[in-house]
Amino acid sequence: MDKKEIEILELLEKNGRMDVHMIARMVELSVDEVEAAISKFEEMQIVHGYSTLIDWTEVRGHEGVTAMIDVKVTPIRGKGFDDVAERIYRFPEVKAVYLMSGAYDLSVSVEGKTMSQVARFVSEKLSTLDTVISTTTHFILKKYKHDGIIFGEDDNNDRRMPVSP
C-alpha cells in the first residue's frame, strides 16, 4: 500500500461521501486512479462499507437505547472464542462484538427500542447460551464522542477574525 492509497483511506474514513474528483485533486492522482484504488480496497475487504454517523437523539420521535455488555464465556476446545462470538454476533440486535483482554472476554454492543427489550435479549438469548458464564449490562446514557466525532459540536464555529496578516 503506498502513501497516496493510505491518504485516500484516511479521507474516506473521515468522510465516506467525499467525491472522487475532490479526492483526486487532494492527493494529486487522476480520477481513474482513485476509482481503481477504491475498487481495490473494496475487493480486498479493506473497505467494508460506507455508513453514516447519525445522532439519533436529535431525531424527534425516535426511541432507542444502547447497552454495552461484558460477557464472560468458556472458550470451546479447538475453536477458541470465535465460535462463541459468532453465536452472539449473528443476532441482528448485536451491533458490535469485540474480544477483550482483562476481566471479561467479549464486549457486546446491543441496540433495542427500550431497556426492557434489551434486558429481554440478555436474559433470554445471551445468558442462556451454554458457553456464557456471566453477563454485566451497562446502558449508555449519553454519547459525547463516537468514532472520533464529538456530538453537538458546531464545525462552522470559526473563532478567528475574518482578515489577518
Partner: protein
Amino acid sequence: MSLDTSRFIAEHVEALKPSGIRRFFDLASTMENVISLGVGEPDFVTPWNVIEASYHSLEQGYTAYTANAGLMELRELISDYLKTTYAVTYRPADQVIVTVGASQAIDIALRAILNPGDEVIIVEPCFVAYASAVSLAGGVPVSVGTKAENGFKLQPQELKNALTAKTKAIILCNPNNPTGTMLNREELLPIAELVEEHDLLVLSDEIYAELSYEADYVSFSSLPNMQDRTILISGFSKSFAMTGWRLGYAAGPAELIQAMTKIHQYTIMCAPTMAQYGAVEALRSGSASVEHMRKSYRQRRNFVTSAFEEMGLMTNRPGGAFYIFPSIKETGMTSEAFAEALLIEEKVAVVPGSVFGESGEGYIRCSYATSMKQLTEAMKRIKRFVEKHTA
C-alpha cells in the same frame, strides 16, 4: 475647546502607513456569511494536550514570571528541536530567547542591531510588519521585489543591486507569506555567499518551516558559515496552531541574543508563563499533531492549486505555508479592486496582493487554512466571479 492630543504623537509613528489589511478587515467585518480566505492563521484549534498542560500549570500555581529569556526547560527543548530538525546547534543558556510571538523576536532583533540610518533589505511581497518594524527601530527598509515568473524567489543579482554601504541585514521569510514560495538549498546558497561577501546579518523568519510540502526544509542558519550571521526566528503559532498564545523564539549568536534579551527584560520581562508551559508540552509531545495538520494543509494546497489552474488564473504551486498567490491580471482589475468587488459580489474575502508590497500588485493572497467545505464553495464563487469579469 478640546485638546488636540494628536500633536503628542511622535513624528516617526505618525509617518507609519496604516496596514492595508486593516481597511479590508473593517469592510469584511461588517458583512455576514462571508467565506474568508483572508485569515493568516491555522483553522485548527491548539492540540488538546497543549491546552491541558497549560491548564495544569495554572492549577499548580505556576503564575509567576519566568527567567527573562524564558523557562530553561523550554529553551532546552527548543535547542533539541532545532538540532534534530534542522541540524543547527544552539546553547539553551545564552543562544536562545523565548519571545511574545515571532513578531516580538523580529522587533527586538531589529532594535538590537540597527543604528539610525542602517538599511535593511526586505524581500517583497512579504509579511506586512517588516518595513514598519525596521522604521520603528530607526532603520531604513529597502524593498527588493520578486516576480511571479521566478516563482517569487529572490534572485541573487537583484539582491546584489539593492546592497549599499549602509546595508546591515536582510529579512528573509522562508516559506513565504503571502506567496507560499519555498527556497531550497541551491537557491539559498548564492544568497548566503552574498551575505558573507558583504558582511551582512540575516533575520531568518522560519515561522512556516514546519509547513513545507515538497523537499526537506533547509534552515538558513545551517548553510556554510551562516550560523554566526543568522538570527533564526520561529515560534509555535503556525506549526502548533497556537497563534493566540503569542509565543515565539529566536536563536542566534550569543552576543546578539544577549543584546535582544536586554531589550526584552526592560520592555516585556518575559513571555507569558502559562503559554510557555503549553509550549513545553507541544515540543515534548513531538510531531504527531504537526504531521496531521501538515498533511491536511498539503491536501488543501493541492485542491486550491488545481482549482485556480482550472479557472485560468496563473498560479505558482506553493511549496509551503498555507497561502496561494494567484495572478488576477487577466481581469484587468487592480488587486484591491478585485478583492473589494469579490467581497461585495460573492462574499469571499481575500487579501489584495498590493498590501504585501508593490510587487504583489496584480495578485491576491488566499489562505487555504479553512475547511474543505468552505474552500470548495469559495472556489465555486471565485470561478463565477472571474468568468463574469473576464468575459
